[in-house]
Symmetry: none
Subunit: 136 residues, 4 copies
Amino acid sequence: MDIIVIEFDSEVPLYQQLRDRVVEAIAEGKLSKGSQLPSTRQLAADFGINFHTVHKAYDALRDEGLIRLSRKSGAVIYRDAAAGPPPPEFLKQWRLRAHTLLAEAIAQGTTPETVLAELRAILAQFPDPTGTPPVH
Amino acid sequence: MDIIVIEFDSEVPLYQQLRDRVVEAIAEGKLSKGSQLPSTRQLAADFGINFHTVHKAYDALRDEGLIRLSRKSGAVIYRDAAAGPPPPEFLKQWRLRAHTLLAEAIAQGTTPETVLAELRAILAQFPDPTGTPPVH
Amino acid sequence: MDIIVIEFDSEVPLYQQLRDRVVEAIAEGKLSKGSQLPSTRQLAADFGINFHTVHKAYDALRDEGLIRLSRKSGAVIYRDAAAGPPPPEFLKQWRLRAHTLLAEAIAQGTTPETVLAELRAILAQFPDPTGTPPVH
Amino acid sequence: MDIIVIEFDSEVPLYQQLRDRVVEAIAEGKLSKGSQLPSTRQLAADFGINFHTVHKAYDALRDEGLIRLSRKSGAVIYRDAAAGPPPPEFLKQWRLRAHTLLAEAIAQGTTPETVLAELRAILAQFPDPTGTPPVH
DNA sequence: GTGGTCTAGACCACC
DNA sequence: GTGGTCTAGACCACG
């Protein structure tokens, strides 16, 4: 978890940044089902933030079905890239957000080819969930 | 501009929705360089919202370089899909957001192939800026 | 909303009680899509509890898709009995909880007939979502 | 008792899971009045959990009147589906919980007919306490 | 020691 | 005015 970096002067809320970084780590295969996350108090101490802020990030991740929280085992990754297709409702909402994001690039003059190339490059950073996991 | 629809009960701020819809309209070729946008008061009256809200949306679009504001000509589209490559700083920030968005889909179990197919489908909704513009 | 009663000495968390009461009010047709809920601060003052506690209840209701929150319109019911079938995942989890609850009644000696009669009686308190709404 | 399965990464407390599984086993006729339950230490060893946790589960079951605890005979089922009607206080509390659970399904858009069908299906899993007990 | 709840008060963003 | 974020500290429940 020492790979996570948060920006204090960002307009993105701290808890949201934490949530985003964990999601990315899952997608990149750096965290997978069963991986243990630091305790809320621990992570809060590491970043010099309040544990409630970390709690809110974990809460969001749990609501998305990505982690499980228990007083015994703490925070554990519950869902990863190999977990099977997402609920259809998720995909529906995701499409809307993707539409806006892609429109932004196009409106700024990026050619569709370039956009596609960029997206491919990003996707290439995520390991094939059906293939052999990358070594860390 | 009568194609713009905003949701009042959405959790997305009104000004953000306005900004998003304009960006999408540009990407879809419904608005292009030189297109005149309604005045802030006009648009505010149409939607029954405060004109400060519209102003904030236009402000954001101007900061992104997509429109120009002046007292006499009002709001005019300044940049569109055919305007050439975006500033590198934009692309850099965009990549980060795209990374997070794509990671979300992957972490939720969407296969890279499905993600790519979805993105392609969205891109297909935007006209080729080098080809003949679509008729409206 | 003056129909809501919470118990301070219950082992059920306050925010959970609030959430439960709102869910029940929706099921009973006392609240339906578009109904306005009191503001977090208002409701907190009414009950003599902290507004963060109310916030947490509203947060949970939003995550379940039952209400929408916005700084403009406050908390508004977004989903009710007439909103169409729930996501399959919901039903799956619900079945498990129902199984445990019904097992409890059976284990305590309640006959299946009595259990069914009790459940019917409860269901009868909820208006038919396809019929005419009850008058209040 | 080897039919009991507990989830370590569940958010439901372990003692609660144990208690729930025993209640369900009674309702399903797999345990009936006089059945001997494993000792707290035995069960704890089987599951690799602390025996205090098992003790807490047995404690809860005793408080509900479902089992009897004694130093010499250990934990024995005291009440089952054939034990006659439950105390009125139990039924009163149970109704409240059932009301909330059913309201949840209705509020999420499940039709009363579907809810009733689901409940019937669950009830069908429990043997008729007045009929011949199922063979195991 | 873990997560969870509740209180309390500050400040910000939106409208 | 609204909800949202962050901090801070207390206490509880679980194991």
